[in-house]
Symmetry: C2
Subunit: 159 residues, 2 copies
Amino acid sequence: MNAQHNEPKIKEMVEEVGVLMEQRGMSPMPGRVLAFLLLSEPPYRSFYDIQEFLAASKSAISNSLQKLMDSGIVDYITFSGDRKRYFRVNLKKWMEVSKNDFSKIREIEAFFKKTLALRKDTKFLEFNEEIERLLEFHQFMAAKIPHLIEEFEKRYNKE
Amino acid sequence: MNAQHNEPKIKEMVEEVGVLMEQRGMSPMPGRVLAFLLLSEPPYRSFYDIQEFLAASKSAISNSLQKLMDSGIVDYITFSGDRKRYFRVNLKKWMEVSKNDFSKIREIEAFFKKTLALRKDTKFLEFNEEIERLLEFHQFMAAKIPHLIEEFEKRYNKE
DNA sequence: TTTTTAGTTCTTTTCTTGCAGAACTAAAAA
DNA sequence: TTTTTAGTTCTGCAAGAAAAGAACTAAAAA
């Protein structure tokens, strides 16, 4: 259960993903765990495997797995006669999460709406117009992207 | 130069934006400064105005403005006979930044490409196929969104 | 029933980071 | 030329977060 041929490359990418996740507001360790699970052969790993590969403490691994499982993109499987859990990336959930990610545009939309409401008595009409345009842009994108996703789904299901 | 009628509401929203920015990986203070500039009447303010409103230190304001100006969404104007700078939100830049924001999809795309490259000798073909699908999704979105943006621009320029 | 083990939770330590306040700089004003 | 002022940079501190390590739990195994 340990066909890890290109380990150095994986180590490299694991670190890279750690940084990537950090930029997106997550802490690096869950990112590393995720990357390891995604890249390892087989793509499911025991708690100890993960701990060993990342050379981290049990608590760090436990908390990271917890976070990843909370968000849904990691889950685990078991094998009868083996009491360990084997953690793996749930790619279907990841797809869902990716699609849902676009819905945060709605939050920005709401923000600009609120801004305009508070600025309604302004003397600076041009300024407001530009905010209006930003609002329109986000409204437009928020409205169109779901269709794009549908289009993708249709196309995929045909093939 | 101080027609700040609905101050309490602004204060509220300023805090709200602080939190919003924090969630997106930025520190709260630049978010507050941005929100204040966006909501205030007039929509340009001196260093001291900002400091006073946010009840923060000079260094905090200075660093925040610096970050916002680096990203481009804030700049400043001056008035002859007044040595102060008047900071304001550059909404055109913000629009650009908003549009560019979608290009981070390309980064995710690149990430899944790399993942597949490293997994090319896998025995877990189904797993790889799901990664492939995630890659395709991001490729699809990355390809289509620029068209959407164009469509928005066309529609806007007509009106 | 006792022991082992997989994983969690609690406590402590360390590191980071955001802010305040002070010291400083550069340019305008006097 | 000196002083004032707008803004920056430096230093130190305090709060928060992430990780380590130890203590603990629950369930399987013996």
